[in-house]
Amino acid sequence: MNNRVGSTVLEAVKNFQWRKNIIYVAFLLTIIFFSITLGHLGFNQPSNLLNIARQCSSIAVMAVMMTFVIATAEIDLSVGSVAGLSSVIAANALQHYGLVLGVLAGLATGLVIGLINGFLVAMLRVPSFLVTLGMLSLVEGGARWYTSSLPIAIDNSRFNTVFGGGQVGPIPDLLFWSLGATAIGAFVLNYTKFGRQVLATGGNLLAAKYTGVNTAKIKFTVLVFSGIAASLAGLLYAGRLESGRFQWGQGDALSVIAAVILGGTSLFGGRGSVVRSLFGAFFIGLVNNGLILAGLDVSQQEVVQGAIIVIAVILSRKD
């Protein structure tokens, strides 16, 4: 009897898809590890955990669309800078034209940049790596220029509540944004024709084309929505920090890509999971928070984050 249970467990361990589910293991182990080592500093206090959820909301929202982008075997390096520019454009519009136009202006920023990225990649067939790397610099410089490197304060309390400090009971609004974006993304990827075509495009471009998938349109659409998701992430930064600033989102592309790869999405395209990307984002949030509590400074955090990404990429080769 005991033997049978034992062999069933062994079987389950053997059949466990490590590469696919490693993010859940990593997530749990990190919580356990920090709870033990940093418990006395308040790591496992609910308030700290909810704070982590708030802090990774922007990364999580960008990771949803990055999952689609990477699943088509493309990349979007411009997301962080788009978030920054959207935050300043929204902040400015909020001050002059009010809530609705402010939010729309922010989202329109990402839409326009996404359209340009999508056009260059899908229609002119420039590699997305180069297009979005150039866009990263262009947009970041633009935001800096536009604001003369100064922050723009936001005193629209409605905006700051909905996109920032608001709560429903004990749950922060920002967590709803990440969960909502993830739910929509996961639904689209798994239960719609578009989602299937995204995966087919990344899995074998030629076969998808010969099967009648409009692969150029798929790549275009995915990059447009990646821009929009990045500007929503910018609004979440603006609401949480009650200001627009070019620095919001700086360097986020790396964290977002790490979250997606840790979540098991193949860098070579064809496979992806939005839910696991969310856990990837939470994982990175946990690590950052733990490192801060442990007293490491920003530069040391960067070193650890870089190491995580390299490890994630090594793992992603093996599927």
Partner: protein, 501 residues
């Protein structure tokens, strides 16, 4: 004359299936030795063993009388064996000279490499070959014929004494072929031994002195070419193995069938010139022709992959201008492409996902994919096409070749097309599956749909087609009704451009 290569009693099996059953082959210096055989006969396996790509299970390889066993193709190259592949192994953005001396570069000053010296040497090689190519040209800018000459120069630069040419004329024009033959004759006079792999009888009889034919992994002929006729060779290649299994079943043909597809004077500006044909309801139309005859290119025009330069296509009488695959699929055209791994399947996705990809529209309601509809669809497809899979949820790459091919075929029949185009749908498939696939095609045509069927295996064409168009050099050279074709040899001769009495 000295013996350059001797292969003795070579045996090779792949996962228990014997591909070579003790084949002998030899090559003398100053000889062009043709190697012929049907698809899957074992000739490319034999050459890969000579090149060190595979190791043989049993048998001996003697090079210049010395026993050798190459563990990789680099060793083979160093021992003087050069191979010109069907798909060229050149790097497009390097120059001709840089390609010829790749990994054998000449040293220049301060540890750099000298392109100048390479260009000088390349020029000398081309001069000895009697061809004019500027060694400084980027390879990408050369025509196919010149790329092939560069490949040969590359082999000569490594002092090749043995040259393997695999279907070297398949993408050459007539005058280019003549130039290649002149070169082969010059190389022969210099004492090289040349192994010439080809399906084309006229070429074999023009250029070769000796021929070996392999069928089913065994040598069936090794003889001076002068002792044989083209018919002898074709009979040796064909054998009688398939004939019993693949019998022609005459089908009821419709009276006054509508024309489903009509192509008028199609040209693609490259291969296809003024090609016209019609496909009718309930008809299975075969395209016969050698590799490079333009078979695949015609399908690409009708499927919206390549643009038509001139001519027109009508679908059920309406003129269409096809600009994309989506458009062709929307008109009820389907294509089972030639290379299933490259064009047909997303190998790392499940068999189920591959099967549903072109049919997603009818598997959803209010934009949401319906699991129940999908499962029902998959079950019906698995049943109808008897796909044998441990689980349809596993990656399609885990299925056998035959079942992979069934997935590609089933996914298109699942879209209920009006016109089904199939390019070598039985390649790499076992005989049992082959017969099943042919039955699927017959049943589909019986429903009043149209089928265009391409195959290099003539017995298959003869088993299912109502009418066969013979393609040569991008045009239709002959139209044959099935009942007027007495046997396979007749059709074989037609694809070769001759007649069989």
């Amino acid at each position: 004359m000295s013996t350059l290569v001797q292969l003795k009693a070579i045996q090779k099996s792949f996962s228990g299936v014997a591909v070579l059953k003790g084949v002998d082959f030899s090559l003398e210096s100053g000889e062009v030795h043709a190697l012929a055989g049907g698809n899957g006969a074992g000739k490319s396996t034999l050459m890969k063993i000579l090149m060190g790509v595979y190791t043989c299970d049993e048998g001996e390889i003697l090079i210049d009388g010395e026993r050798r066993q190459f563990s990789n193709s680099l060793e083979a190259r160093r021992s003087g064996i050069g191979m010109v592949f069907q798909e060229f192994s050149l790097i497009p953005h390097l120059t001709v000279a840089q390609n010829i001396f790749l990994t054998n570069e000449f040293g220049g000053k301060f540890g750099s490499i000298s392109d100048k010296e390479a260009e000088k040497q390349a020029h000398a090689i081309f001069e000895s070959m009697g061809v004019e190519i500027d060694p400084r040209t980027e390879v990408a800018k050369l025509s196919t014929a010149y790329q092939q000459l560069t490949e040969i120069a590359k082999a000569l630069a490594q002092n090749a004494k043995i040259l393997i040419l695999d279907e070297p004329t398949s993408s050459l024009a007539a005058d280019e072929t003549e130039a290649l033959f002149a070169l082969i004759n010059r190389l022969k006079e210099r004492g090289l031994g040349i192994i010439y792999i080809s399906h084309r009888m006229d070429e074999i009889f023009t250029i070769a002195q000796r021929i070996t034919v392999i069928r089913n992994g065994s040598k069936v002929i090794d003889s001076p070419i002068s002792a044989l006729s083209a018919v002898d060779v074709i009979e040796a290649i064909v054998g009688h193995k398939m004939e019993a299994n693949l019998e022609w079943k005459k089908r009821e043909t419709r009276k006054n069938p509508k024309v489903l597809l009509s192509a008028q004077k199609l040209s693609d500006g490259r291969k296809i010139k003024d090609l016209s044909f019609e496909l009718r309801e309930g008809e299975i139309l075969g395209f016969a022709g050698l590799m490079g005859s333009g078979r695949t290119e015609v399908l690409n025009l009708i499927y919206g992959i390549d643009a038509i330069q001139s001519g027109e296509i009508r679908i059920e009488g309406n003129q269409v201008s096809l600009k994309s695959v989506q458009q062709a699929v929307g008109l009820g055209i389907a294509l089972v492409p030639e290379d299933r791994r490259k064009f047909g399947l997303v190998l790392r996705h499940s068999a189920a996902d591959n099967l549903t990809l072109p049919s997603l529209d009818k598997l959803r309601s209010s934009k949401i994919l319906q699991r129940r509809k999908i499962e029902k669809f998959i079950v019906s497809m698995v049943e109808k096409f008897s796909i044998k899979a441990h689980s349809m949820k596993r990656d399609v790459v885990m299925l056998s070749g035959g079942n992979q091919q069934k997935v590609v075929i089933a996914k298109w029949f699942g879209t209920s097309p009006k016109i089904m185009m199939m390019d070598e749908p039985t390649a790499g498939v076992d005989i049992e599956t082959k017969i099943e696939i042919l039955d699927i095609i017959r049943n589909f045509a019986d429903e009043g749909k149209g089928v265009i069927f391409i195959s290099s295996e003539l017995p298959e064409l003869l088993a299912v087609c109502d009418r066969i168009l013979v393609l040569r050099n991008g045009n239709i050279s002959e139209e044959l009704l099935r009942e007027n074709i007495p046997n396979e040899k007749y059709l074989q001769m037609a694809t070769q451009g001759g007649t069989y009495e």
